[in-house]
């Protein structure tokens, strides 16, 4: 469980997050949705501590993360996996080295154990043949899959994904969504995903938070999002024709 308690964040006097309180559940794919520029990335980065919030507290299970110092946070960070929007793979390292790096830094595994663990993770994202390639030689979908493999290599308890399927074709997007969903269930992870893709919302939105201009506007799940009576959310949801049709069918 991850909980934000009345958090606010401003950049140079401009409020980007305004008094947001929300709880994300363990073992579920929790979605943060909203238009571009609504503050999703800032919220995600605030939750993991890449931005310091100005007000409010963040809890990882029972630990108040915001009150910890740098060294204490490190312990929690080992339990965090994160998938960045562009993948954020290290350009100068191969796929294998990228996935292996957390093991090199934080475990006392032998070479053999590391190799097995990396192989397991690469296999989990179906990338075993690509381990010697460099990030520039990969397709967009492969980059995302390597990023997932790297994020899960240390068996994280919390997984953060910033627009995991931005820039991917619809088919690949579904593959990535399902992969994240399955991993979440398999290892009982608290997963938080930023997205503005309605396909993902209807596919894996077990818990959904709608952010509008830095405010939490709505909270629910894929089962009741089509019935929500919030004007901004409706505009967002029904911007895509697919969702419109889904609604007319459900009536």
């Amino acid at each position: 469980m991850i909980r934000a308690d009345h958090i606010s964040k401003t950049f140079d006097g401009r409020t980007v997050l305004d008094d947001i309180s929300v709880e994300f559940d363990t073992g579920k794919t929790n979605l943060i949705i909203g238009r571009s520029g609504s503050g999703k990335t800032v919220l995600l980065k605030s939750l993991v501590g890449l931005h310091d919030v100005d007000k409010g507290n963040i809890f990882f299970d029972d630990v108040c993360y915001t009150k910890l110092n740098f060294a204490e946070r490190k312990n929690i960070r080992k339990d965090i996996g994160m998938i960045f929007q562009g993948g954020a793979l290290l350009d100068s390292s191969t796929v294998r080295e990228n996935v292996r790096l957390p093991l090199d830094l934080f475990t006392e595994m032998t070479e053999g154990e590391k190799r097995d663990r990396v192989n397991f993770c690469l296999e989990r994202v179906r990338l075993n043949g690509a381990d010697h390639l460099y990030p520039s030689e990969l397709s967009g979908g492969m980059v995302k899959r390597v990023a997932i493999a790297r994020a899960i290599v240390l068996n994280p308890r919390y997984l953060f994904c910033d627009e995991p399927n931005s820039g991917l074709d619809p088919q690949t997007s579904v593959v990535i969504d399902n992969l994240i969903h399955d991993i979440t269930k398999e290892f009982n992870i608290t997963t938080i995903i930023n997205t503005h893709d309605m396909n993902s919302v209807m596919e894996i939105g077990e818990k959904i938070v709608y952010i509008h201009e830095g405010h939490k506007w709505w909270e629910g799940s894929k089962d009741n999002i089509l019935e929500a009576d919030n004007r901004e959310l409706n505009e967002f949801v029904f911007a895509s024709a697919m969702a419109k049709r889904a609604k007319s069918v459900s009536r």
Binding site: K45, V48, R77, A88, L105
Partner: protein, 247 residues
């Protein structure tokens, strides 16, 4: 002006982060070797070309200006050596490498910043400043003095070559001049300058890249800023070190 002090403050805070205890030494050794190759070995040819030509030009200039029956010919070799050791091989080579290595470091680290690679390291719990910057600093601070020695040697050989090829002076006189009134401390002075300048170039350029934000345009600006700031700082420290270590 306020911005300047703000930058200096942030620069020293970054240095503090860079020199805090590294995660695992084993990984650092590997990275240092990698950087010695990337930043050091790859600068050898540029250094060689420029040093050879400057050595030749200096010797030639000396031969022309010192053409007088009252000045012994070996002064040409002597002057060439002094120019290479005291100023050229440490300072000018540093300025040239500020352009090559400085822009390289700033754009590499800047790109890592804007593509969130630095965030990714931080999330893993890695001290990104130390992980990315420390190996570069160690590699250049160790390697630059060697590069300085190499530059002195090549420059002097360049001078000899021009003496030999043009016949404008006797190679024997040139060599005699090389050993005339030699102060070994001046070599120490050149080596110290090499190390200090290496530190300046690497740390300032890394700083410019580390705090880049925005898009690729900003990375370009960061890399320009790195070259300009480190060049100016090198000149300031050249003055200070010359004053402190006066031979």
């Amino acid at each position: 002006m306020i911005a300047l002090f703000e930058n200096i403050g942030r620069y020293f805070m970054l240095l503090g982060k860079v020199f805090s205890r590294p995660e695992k030494m084993g990984i650092y050794y590997r990275k240092i070797w990698f950087e010695v190759e990337a930043l050091g070995f790859n600068s050898i040819s540029l250094t060689a070309i420029i040093s050879a030509f400057i050595g030749a030009v200096v010797a030639l200039q000396m031969a022309i200006t010192l053409e007088s029956p009252f000045i012994p010919q070996f002064m040409i070799g002597y002057a060439t050596r002094e120019v290479m050791v005291l100023e050229f091989s440490s300072t000018v080579v540093a300025l040239i490498l500020a352009g090559k290595i400085g822009s390289n470091i700033a754009s590499e680290i800047g790109t890592m910043r804007i593509t969130e690679q630095i965030d990714a390291l931080e999330i893993m719990g890695v001290n990104s400043a130390s992980y990315l910057i420390l190996p570069k600093i160690v590699a250049t601070v160790i390697f630059f003095p060697l590069l300085t020695l190499f530059s002195i040697f090549v420059g002097i050989v360049g001078g000899y070559a021009i003496a030999y090829l043009t016949g404008i002076m006797l190679p024997g006189d040139y060599i005699e001049g090389l050993f005339y009134y030699f102060e070994p401390f001046s070599i120490v002075y050149a080596l110290v300058k090499g190390s200090v300048f290496a530190f300046i170039i690497t740390s300032i350029s890394a700083y410019c890249g580390y705090y880049a934000k925005g898009n690729s345009l900003e990375v370009g600006r960061a890399s320009t800023r790195a070259v300009v700031s480190s060049s100016v700082t090198i000149m300031i420290f050249d003055l200070i070190l010359t004053q402190i270590m006066r031979v």
